[in-house]
Symmetry: D2
Subunit: 140 residues, 4 copies
């Protein structure tokens, strides 16, 4: 456990459904991979996303950025590393690195930026205390 | 306007996102095309799906059936014909035929079966009267 | 190992990307789950789909049928059981049952029908001998 | 026709398939909307993407950036404006603005960065002369 953040690696296997006619993963389909990895990063530190919604909040996406270095293809096993590098303030940033499991080659990097909002009003709020205090542990 | 049902044709152009590594439309991606065609068939006879939800109902999918005769490819313009062949009872059935616009070749056929449900309880109900009476006009 | 076929269960966890505005899995998104399960059923008996393509064949989808009994929601862990019930002739049929892992409730059933084709000509062929003989073992 | 670039607006209507359990368009599903708009921008100035592939090239995606200002919901008609702001060198950049047709509110902005590659080798190349000269007309 680092004091400068926390990472978690999720493995996904590329579905045929996620490829396109260039015989590679369609560029938009990396965002669900990021979602998988982000959800598991949260889960691994004790934050279950469905609990966030039950408490009346959404964690919405404000920005997404992806750099495509090399293509992934059907049936590749990908290791999607998601990292919290900074303690969230109004915004919460997650960084991603996707590597091909078979040879460790880096294929894709990215970042998403999020905010907590009240589910009903849609208004952005600071991270609720119970989640903030969990994340704080990784930045002391 | 036939007394034995009603049809409507929606045109869709195949996105790269919808193809797969066989360089054809992924078989699961015809269901959104059916959805487009079904929604427009409803709209064309005066039933706006968002109004159904505002009235507190969902029109859920109970079954989907697809036969793949020939593949569609990237940038094809498809004509998706949706047809109500029977006056709905508890279930509402929609039939589909997808043809390639350039040469009229039939590529895909299918059928979906639906029911109205109360959005809150999820319980299936007969088609609400206002929608039933609209559909009834096509079966006299 | 049954002599009347062979099954394999694949677990998938529902992504936010796969849900829709009814707060359930979009009906078209069960087909990629079937794909996952079918690929793993093949893999488990020693048939790697990428090898089929390397040998110059595609296994195409001729039909898909889905019955939606109860909805799956975000973050559900689903057990997708894929079964070969019959020795393939010209066509190869796979049956599916999706149950919610937490309580074993059956949510979705389905079937897909496939054929081997030559990748270049697109012409359907009988299952190549090496794959047929593997499958034959489960039907003696 | 501006000498500082060229834009084209494509209309898309949001499918149920493209929404998620927050009752808004899933953030990854704006990339296919960008794709639609980019393809039509090309088409409108006389570059047909399928011709690029027939000539032995791919136009691959190197980067994608999206900012989500306000959510789009089911059945919204969106106007997706794609713009070439700079004459391409090794890279070709497209900017996007998505507005809701009903009230003109800006919902999403974004940018994708592309390169031409040889389809066989995958090696990046400068824009082929025939496409470059078409684009050059918009920057004189």
């Amino acid at each position: 456990m680092s004091k400068h953040g926390v990472s978690f690696i999720t493995e996904v296997r590329v579905r045929y459904a996620e490829t396109d006619a260039m015989k590679v993963v369609y560029h938009g389909n990396y965002l669900p991979y990021f979602e998988d990895a982000r959800t598991n990063l949260f889960r691994n530190i004790g934050i279950i996303y469905t609990d966030i919604e039950k408490a009346g909040f959404y964690l919405v996406v404000l920005e997404a950025h992806v750099k495509y270095l090399r293509p992934a293809v059907y049936d590749d096993i990908l290791q999607v590393k998601a990292t919290f590098k900074e303690l969230p303030a109004l915004k919460l940033t997650v960084d991603y690195e996707i590597t091909r499991k078979s040879d460790g080659v880096l294929l894709v990097t990215g970042q998403t930026v999020h905010a907590f909002v009240h589910a009903e009003s849609g208004r952005p709020i600071r991270p609720p205390k119970e989640y903030f205090s969990i994340m704080q542990k990784y930045f002391q």
